[in-house]
Each structure stands twice: as structure tokens, then as C-alpha cells.
């Protein structure tokens, strides 16, 4: 086997591996998005392009809103456009700096069903780098009514388009999430006097990651990192 033929074989092998194990290759490609994760304080969580990340905050004032802002700002800092699908029209635009607002497509929904449909359309479109689906204010019983198939559809769309979906929920909901972050912080009135930057550093969350190569086992996830 001469050298040229050998190189051809390696290229062919790589192509075959990429075709067989696309997930692993997305992981490699995600290195370029490290800045986004670092900005949001989510570095090291193994968030890859085309995956679904669920952020669970079981109750108000757990810091999920702060994390949402940091996710948005992370993408904006990278000069990437991002969609915010607001499940209960609760986003306060004043939380973002004026120049940052131009990078966010705000989709104001009146219910979880609308929000899921909007996320579906945006993931299919694939023009925006990430879709942030905020269902934090939606009542749990409304969210439970959504069939689990919608989450699998969204995961498939995210994979196909190579876009990341961040879902902010009040309970564990997205079974197909590759990474689940559970907010552990609990803030009191003392935080009213603290700058947002300081609060961000104090965010505590527990991370669960779907076991790599864990077969089809739903819920086959492992506790990966504990911050705080």
C-alpha cells in the first residue's frame, strides 16, 4: 500500500466513522462553542452542537433566569443570533443591554403548546445558532399534558440542524435531553443589593448527563458534576 492510498483509506475511514457515529463528531466540532459554554458557566458539561439541554428550576428564584441571561449573553458575545421562545411571555427585555437585544429573536407565546411549535419551526429553519425555550413560568400541569414524543421530535430536529436547544422547565420534563442541569441555589432578599455578576458566580446547580454510548436506555444518565 503506497502512501497516497493509505491517506485515502484514512479519509474514507473517517467518513465512515462520521457517518456511523455522528454524535462523536459533533462532540469534536463543539470545541468551537467552548466560549459560549464558558460565558454561561456551563463549560465542562459536554454540551455538544445539536443536543438538547434541560435546565430545571423547581420553584421560583432558583437562578434559572440568571442562567438564561448568561446563555443568551454567551451566544451574543460570540456574535451569534439566538432565538428565545418565551412560553408565557415573561421575558423582560430590560434585562439585556440595548446592543445585545439586536441578536435575539424574541418569540412571545401564550402557552406551552405554542412554544413547542415555535421551537419546532426554529429548529427546522436552522438559521439561528441556538433556541432557548423558556417554560419556567408555564404551569406544571400544562407541561405534563404535552406528549413525550414532542421532545424526541425536538431532539431529532436539533440533531439534524446541528443547533442546540436549551429548555428551561419547572420540573424534569425533557426525557431526550443530553444534559440536565438542576438549579440548586435558593435566593433570599439579600440578593437585591448584590450585582448580577456576583450572583452569577454563586450559581449552584447539579448536572446530569446522559451516559455516553449508553444504548437506548431512557433515563440512563449519570451524575456528572456538582457545582457550588
Amino acid at each position: 500500500m503506497n502512501r497516497k492510498n493509505g491517506a485515502d483509506h484514512v479519509i474514507a475511514l473517517r467518513a465512515l466513522m462520521e457517518e456511523k457515529f455522528p454524535e462523536a463528531h459533533r462532540r469534536m466540532a463543539s470545541a468551537g462553542r467552548a466560549g459560549v459554554c464558558a460565558a454561561a458557566g456551563l463549560e465542562g458539561l459536554g454540551i455538544v452542537e445539536g443536543s438538547v439541554v434541560e435546565i430545571v428550576a423547581r420553584g421560583p428564584s432558583r437562578g434559572a433566569g440568571l442562567l438564561l441571561l448568561r446563555v443568551l449573553e454567551g451566544w451574543i458575545r460570540e456574535r451569534r443570533r439566538v432565538a428565545l421562545v418565551d412560553g408565557r411571555d415573561g421575558f423582560d427585555a430590560a434585562n439585556l443591554a440595548e446592543e445585545d437585544r439586536d441578536w435575539v429573536l424574541w418569540v412571545r407565546c401564550r402557552g406551552a403548546e405554542q412554544a413547542v411549535q415555535a421551537a419546532d419551526l426554529l429548529l427546522r429553519d436552522g438559521n439561528l445558532e441556538a433556541v432557548v425555550l423558556d417554560l419556567q413560568l408555564n404551569p406544571e400541569r400544562e407541561l405534563r399534558r404535552l406528549p413525550s414524543s414532542v421532545w424526541h421530535r425536538l431532539r431529532a430536529l436539533a440533531e439534524a440542524s446541528g443547533r442546540t436547544l436549551f429548555g428551561f422547565t419547572p420540573c424534569r420534563l425533557i426525557g431526550s435531553a443530553a444534559v440536565r442541569v438542576e438549579m440548586e441555589s435558593r435566593y433570599t432578599a439579600a440578593v437585591f443589593d448584590l450585582p448580577r455578576e456576583t450572583l452569577g458566580r454563586e450559581l449552584r446547580f447539579e448536572v446530569f448527563r446522559r451516559r455516553w454510548g449508553g444504548g437506548s436506555g431512557m433515563g440512563a444518565e449519570e451524575r456528572a458534576v456538582l457545582f457550588g
Binding site: P60, S61, A97, L137, T188, A189, D193, R196
Partner: protein, 528 residues
């Protein structure tokens, strides 16, 4: 290399083109427009009126019978008993000229409408240059024959000689630079269209052909007939090369359809729109333009109309893509009565071919994104999708959505007026809000009404407990009141409110914003 396309007897052909099957026999065209006569038998009582007309053009068969332009109808009929006389029709003449120009536009972008029934084409830069004049002629004649028009084509190194060649062609005459004199010399002098007085003088001199005219000494010719004669000689010899007065299709690209039937469903409407769009896109392609917007006007059976304007973020002339945008818009459209007419107009723009910002990758496919935004607007309503914007006011929660990512998918689209005010123009208070301390607020829209029990605090009354509503509990800690007011200078628009930041215990424990407005307590949002 230039080519001229001439339609012999253009008035006769414009009338005969629409009367297939009656193409034989001598025909004369009378001056003035009006109802077409149907020959001697068909004139009936109008005989006297028709007889007063003057014949302006005849076909070859009528000419063979001795009928020439300038004769009266009576004289013509006396010379040729079977002569069919027709009146001119300006509509048909315009239609024929349009067909002629459309036919030549398929070969070259640069052409002129030289006169009625004649067009000159610049073949430079086309696949027919430099020696494809004859090939062009054959194709052009074939194309016009499909439109029931008979044409003659001449080609030459300059436009004037090309026109002379076309007038002398039967049906093709190609004149090269060195053999111009040989090819055109034997043509009658009238082909140069000199003034009648000059023609008469030349006739008296015995000058009958173009060749004889070219042999006349220039200085003596100018001395006797003036500069006009010299210009004529230059034209015939190809010494003057004029520029073409280029014909450009008017920059309006539209198609309209009046229906004999009513359309109630989307599919048949889309079928017709697709056809219209393909026509419009073909016209756009002919002038290398693209559509930056579409205007669709629908007419309904109840005589109402609906006009829709669709913006194309990335101008395009691709029928499929434009159709997709139209389809998306119409999917969410409902009308009270069926459609009976439709008109589609494309707004002219230039296809975007620009280098992207190195640090801003932009949108992958702006048109696809526009389609998605359209679908989202159909799902959620027009004002629910866009870039978040704050209104120019101190009033809390004065937000709206701006156009999503502006034109061409660039960030920082900005608005106009108050919306697009720069950071420097914003109230200092708003900028302070942007750098607020504490957790970000998520708003309840609309705010939740709560019943609040007050208690006496250090600085007066303060919220003590939320006793009813979706969120209830003891107030563990409160900050406030923060009093805000504004728009008091506008009658009826004034507002005033008192805000409290509270920590509530119990099942819904968390940090909330409580507001007292017009005597009512409202939960404005939750911090988190």
C-alpha cells in the same frame, strides 16, 4: 456586427396576424383607424366613407395589381376589383411591435426599436458575433414565423447599413465590410428615405440607385443639395456609425388575471399564482434583476380587495423560492368571499452579491428565515415575533418587538423614530435599569391580582401577607416603596405606581415584585 429585423408591410401584417386563414389576396390599409372593412362585399352602407380614405400600405399582391400607397380607396378598387381594404388598428400595431422586440430581446440585451416594424440588434458580445449574422437571421425569422409574422433580416458592420440590408433582403442579406458597395449598390434610392424634394432632384439627375448616389462627388453634392445629402451619403457608405437608442423593458413586473369563475380553496389559487410568478420571474431574468418584494392584490366576489406586501430579505428571481414565501403568507389568510381576480407585482431589486462580515456570519438563508418568521407570525400573531425593543418612556414593561434581524439578516436592524433612538438618546434611568442589581425579573403578563394585608413597618405601612390569588404567603422581607409616575403631561395617559420587592415564604417561596397601582395590588413578576 449589427443586425436589423424588418417586417415588410408592417401595417398589413399587424392586421393579418390575427386573421389567420384570410392571408391570401390583395390587401390595402387605409389611413386612420376604425372598424375594419371587409372588402367590397362587406362594406355595405359604409362604401362612401371607406372610399374617401387614402391607402397607406399594400401587400405584394395588391402592388402586382397596380395598387400603390397614396391612392384613394376608389382608385385602388378600380385597379384591383378583389382588393380587400382594412383600417389600421393601433392596438394590433403595438402588439406586433411588442412581439418583434420581445423576439429580438432573446438574442441580445442591446437592441433598439428603430421604427414601426423594424428593430436593430447589437450582436457584439453574443454567440452570433462576429460572423454569425446569417445564423441569427434564420433563428429570428423562425421565431417570428411562430408568431405569424414574416420578417427580413440584414446584418452589417453598422446599424444603418444593417437596416438597408434588411430592407433589401429576401429574406436574409449579410453585408460584410469589404462587400458593402457590391451588396447595396443596386438598391433603389428610395431605400435611403431621402426627403421628397431631394429625391425628385436626384431622379431628374438620373440617379436611381444607392450605388449611383455614392458615386456622386461629395463636394459638389453638398454645394447643390446641402449637408443633408452628405449625411445621407455617409449613412449609405457606412462612414458614420451611430449609437443605438437602446430599448429597455419598463421596470414594472406584474401579471394580472381576471377569472370567469370563483376560487374558494388555496390550492387552485396557488396553482394560478405559481404560473404568474414564473412569468414575472422570466421577465426579471431577462433584465438580470431580482424581486425585493412582492405585492399581491386579490379581488373578491363581494367587490372587496386585499393587498399583501411581502418583503424578500435576500432579493431573488427564483420562482420556487418566491412561491414558498407567497404560500406561507397565504396559508394563514382567510377571506369572507371567493377570489375572482388576482394581480401580482414584483418590486425591483438587485440580487445581493456582497462579502459577508468576517466576524458576523449572518443568517445562512435569509429567505428561509423570513418564511419561518412568517409562519411564526401566523401561529402567534404579527407583534409576537421580533427583536425585543423598549419604548422611549419611563413606564415599566414598555416593550415591543422590532423587525427580526432587519434586511438581509443583519443584526442591529434598528427601528425608526423613538424605537431606533441610540443609547446616547436614552433616559439615564433606563440605562441604570439595564445595569440593575439583583436577579433578573420575569414578568407576569398581565400582572396577577393579589389581595394584600398590610402591616406597620419601620417606615410606615408595608405588605405583610398575600392572602389570595395564584401566589400567596407571608411576606418575609420587603424593600420599597419605589414610587414611579409619568405621562402626567398627557391628558388621560398619566400613570403612577408603587413598587415593592418582596420575599414570600410558603409553597411559592421566592422573590417577587409587588405593585400597587390605582389602589390595586398586583404581582408584576418573579425574580429568578
Amino acid at each position: 456586427m449589427y443586425a436589423a429585423v424588418v417586417i415588410p408591410c408592417p401595417l398589413v401584417q399587424s392586421l393579418e396576424r390575427v386573421a389567420a386563414g384570410r392571408r391570401s389576396g390583395p390587401v390595402g390599409v387605409l389611413a386612420g383607424t376604425g372598424a375594419a372593412a371587409r372588402g367590397r362585399g362587406g362594406r355595405g352602407g359604409k362604401g362612401g366613407e371607406m372610399g374617401a380614405g387614402v391607402i397607406v400600405e399594400v401587400n405584394a399582391e395588391a402592388r402586382a395589381c397596380g395598387v400603390v400607397p397614396g391612392m384613394t380607396a376608389t382608385q385602388g378598387e378600380a385597379r384591383c376589383p378583389g382588393l380587400r381594404l382594412e383600417r389600421r388598428c393601433s392596438g394590433l400595431e403595438e402588439e406586433m411591435q411588442r412581439i418583434l422586440l420581445e423576439s429580438v430581446s432573446g438574442f441580445s440585451r442591446d437592441y433598439e426599436s428603430t421604427s414601426f416594424g423594424a428593430a436593430t440588434v447589437d450582436l457584439f458580445g453574443t454567440r452570433f458575433a462576429p460572423a454569425g449574422g446569417e445564423r441569427f437571421a434564420r433563428r429570428c425569422i423562425e421565431r417570428l414565423r411562430q408568431e405569424s409574422l414574416w420578417a427580413c433580416v440584414g446584418s452589417a458592420p453598422d446599424p444603418d447599413r444593417a437596416l438597408l440590408a434588411a430592407r433589401a433582403a429576401a429574406p436574409v442579406l449579410c453585408v460584410s465590410e469589404g462587400r458593402s458597395r457590391e451588396a447595396l449598390g443596386g438598391l433603389p434610392l428610395q431605400i435611403l428615405e431621402p426627403e421628397a424634394a431631394m429625391l425628385e432632384v436626384l431622379r431628374l439627375w438620373g440617379v436611381r440607385t444607392v450605388g449611383a448616389f455614392l458615386d456622386l462627388p461629395r463636394a459638389e453634392l453638398v454645394a447643390r443639395l446641402g449637408l443633408e445629402a452628405a449625411h445621407l451619403q455617409d449613412r449609405a457608405a457606412g462612414k458614420r456609425r451611430r449609437l443605438l437608442r437602446l430599448h429597455r423593458v419598463p421596470e414594472q413586473f406584474s401579471a394580472a388575471l381576471e377569472l370567469d369563475y370563483e376560487i374558494e380553496q388555496l390550492e387552485p389559487l396557488l396553482f394560478l399564482l405559481r404560473r404568474m410568478l414564473e412569468t414575472v420571474c422570466a421577465r426579471l431574468e431577462a433584465v438580470y434583476a431580482a424581486a425585493s418584494g412582492l405585492i399581491l392584490r386579490l379581488g373578491f366576489a363581494d367587490r372587496k380587495t386585499e393587498t399583501m406586501e411581502l418583503r424578500i430579505p435576500d432579493p431573488s428571481r427564483e420562482a420556487g423560492l418566491l412561491f414558498g414565501i407567497l404560500h406561507t403568507r397565504l396559508e394563514s389568510f382567510r377571506a369572507a368571499s371567493p377570489v375572482v381576480s388576482l394581480e401580482l407585482e414584483a418590486l425591483l431589486g438587485q440580487a445581493v452579491c456582497e462579502q459577508r462580515d468576517l466576524f458576523d456570519p449572518g443568517l445562512r438563508d435569509p429567505n428561509r428565515f423570513a418564511g419561518t418568521v412568517g409562519r411564526l407570525e401566523a401561529l402567534l400573531g404579527g407583534q409576537s415575533v421580533g427583536i425585543p425593543r423598549l419604548r422611549f418612556t419611563h413606564r415599566p414593561d414598555a416593550v415591543e418587538t422590532g423587525p427580526p434581524f432587519g434586511n438581509g439578516g443583519n443584526g442591529g436592524s434598528g427601528g425608526d423614530g423613538e424605537k431606533g433612538r441610540s443609547a446616547e438618546g436614552w433616559p439615564e434611568a433606563r440605562r441604570c435599569l439595564e445595569r440593575a442589581l439583583g436577579l433578573p425579573l420575569r414578568r407576569f403578563r398581565p400582572p396577577l391580582t393579589v389581595q394584600t394585608v398590610l402591616r406597620r413597618g419601620e417606615a410606615g405601612e408595608e405588605p405583610g401577607e398575600l392572602v389570595s390569588g395564584e401566589i400567596a404567603g407571608l411576606v418575609l422581607c420587603s424593600r420599597g416603596p419605589y414610587r414611579l409616575s409619568g405621562d402626567w403631561w398627557e391628558k388621560g395617559g398619566e400613570w403612577e405606581r408603587e413598587e415593592w420587592d418582596v420575599e414570600i415564604g410558603g409553597d411559592q417561596a421566592g422573590l417577587y415584585r409587588l405593585v400597587r397601582e390605582r389602589g390595586c395590588w398586583l404581582l408584576d413578576g418573579v425574580y429568578g
